[in-house]
């Protein structure tokens, strides 16, 4: 009797593993792709909204710091270096980067996302900063990459630094692109769950605010 139970459990385990493998390699239907694109858009909007809150001096320091930690959790590896299994080997990945640009600089600057978020929270010597997303306008097609999916999303970001009298010290408009990761997880006895994580953010182009 114990042997029968053991074989039953073992078979169920094998079945679960094979279902999971199938989920990882199967393609997405159009309805699922559209739903995922909308979810990616929402995730990016979550990030841009949190970024605006992190620099918002009207919020308490505690709230703004909570926004930093919430924002970090949106990203793959939670903004730390991570490893992913790919074709039977563990591939190392660095932590997520944020690329920034300025009309006053000819080169773009890349830094760890965790550092960037903390710097926005600390805000240096600036009196007031506003970071606002114009719109997360476009999510590109979703591509299968090994055992997960990836896509790019783009939005326009307005960055403004104000002086004490409410005037604008500096303002720019940057087109941003962000890499998005979609992983499928099969839950036994339930529907397939998709998890979305954000990745590197690229500053595609910056122009002076006018």
């Amino acid at each position: 009797m114990n042997k029968s139970i053991f074989y039953l459990i073992f078979s169920l385990l094998l079945l679960n593993i094979s279902f999971s493998s199938q989920a990882q390699t199967s393609t997405l239907d159009e309805e699922t792709r559209t739903a995922l694109k909308n979810r990616v858009k929402t995730k990016v909007e979550d990030f841009t909204g949190l970024l605006g809150d992190i620099v918002n001096q009207k919020l308490s320091q505690k709230t703004r710091l909570e926004c930093v930690n919430t924002a970090k959790a949106l990203f793959i590896g939670q903004c730390l270096p991570y490893k992913v299994e790919e074709n039977g080997v563990m591939v190392n990945h660095r932590a997520v980067f944020m690329q920034t640009s300025s009309v006053n600089r000819s080169t773009k600057n890349s830094q760890l996302m965790s550092k960037y978020l903390m710097r926005q929270y600390e805000m240096g010597n600036y009196y007031q900063i506003s970071i606002e997303a114009i719109d997360a306008i476009r999510v590109d097609n979703i591509y299968k990459v090994g055992d997960h999916y990836e896509c790019m999303a783009y939005w326009g970001q307005r960055y403004v630094r104000y002086s004490k009298d409410g005037g604008i010290q500096y303002g720019d408009f940057t087109k941003k692109g962000i890499r998005c990761y979609i992983t499928a997880v099969d839950v036994p006895g339930s529907e397939r769950i998709f998890e979305i994580s954000l990745g590197d953010v690229y500053a595609l182009e910056t122009s002076l605010l006018r």
């Binding site: 299968k144 990459v145 326009g156 002086s163 010290q169 605010l209």
Partner: protein, 252 residues
């Protein structure tokens, strides 16, 4: 620091709407470029494929008249031959201008990539070639040094002499005109941590799918007119020209 000008809500709303208008019209990604090229999407102000194709061409190639005529012939060729844009085309190459560090110096090299299907459902970019190792004298492959013609009598003892003592000239000891796979050299340097890619400075895409032409796609930031991914160069090319061009793109 003094403020540049006082902010008013009306000015900010107007600027925001202007930015949104720009974002909608911008070709924000190659994905969007391809969708407009293939007639799957359209610029909001246009309603024909030919108008969309012309709009995808940068302002630098729609004048003077000679360039404009070439551009229009190029667009006609796309429509007449029902050419579709796809990153997976064997005639589509990415040329990434990179800075690499090697022995405490930084050099410009070009890494060439193509997309491929490793399996039916997967797509990947992969390295196709590299240019710059010879130009920067990181390796020298066009001169030769001798292994003594009597070395066989010494059971080739000088291999442990001349090559080990002159590692910087190691490529010069091969048979004349033996091709050097520079991509393999580059990847070995990377594997052995002798070389590191510091940054990608610029990316261009070359495509030879339009009959009679090679065209170049780059990202341009001219916010007063067209901006985003646009066709910045169109060159007339026969099939032979194309084969030679793409062969030279992937090696020095």
């Amino acid at each position: 620091m003094c403020s540049l000008f006082p902010a008013s809500a009306q000015v900010m709303t107007s600027a925001k709407n202007r930015m949104k208008e720009i974002m909608i019209r911008d070709v924000k990604s190659l994905d969007e470029f391809g969708a407009r090229f293939n007639g799957e999407e359209s610029h909001v102000d246009l309603d024909s494929l030919i108008a969309n194709l012309v709009e995808l061409c940068d302002v630098s190639i729609d004048s003077p008249e000679s360039l404009k005529n070439q551009m229009l012939s190029f667009c006609d060729s796309i429509i007449n031959n029902n050419v579709k844009f796809t990153l997976l085309s064997p005639n589509f190459y990415a040329d990434a201008e990179c800075l690499v560090s090697y022995k405490d110096k930084v050099y410009n090299v070009n890494i060439v990539l193509q997309q491929e299907h490793p399996s039916e459902s997967d797509i990947r970019w992969a390295l196709k070639g590299i240019r710059g190792l010879v130009k920067n004298n990181i390796i020298t492959i066009d001169k030769y040094l001798d292994i003594t013609p009597v070395d066989h009598e010494l059971r080739f003892m000088s291999l442990t002499d001349v090559i080990n003592e002159n590692p910087q000239y190691s490529f010069r000891y091969r048979i004349q005109n033996t091709p050097v796979d520079q991509l393999s050299v580059f990847l070995t340097f990377i594997q052995e941590k002798l070389m590191k890619i510091e940054s990608v400075e610029n990316v261009k895409f070359y495509c030879g799918d339009v009959p009679g032409y090679i065209y170049v796609i780059e990202e341009k930031g001219n916010r007063t007119k067209k901006s985003g991914w646009t066709i910045t160069e169109i060159v007339s090319a026969s099939d032979e020209d194309k084969a030679l061009f793409f062969q030279n793109l992937t090696k020095e």
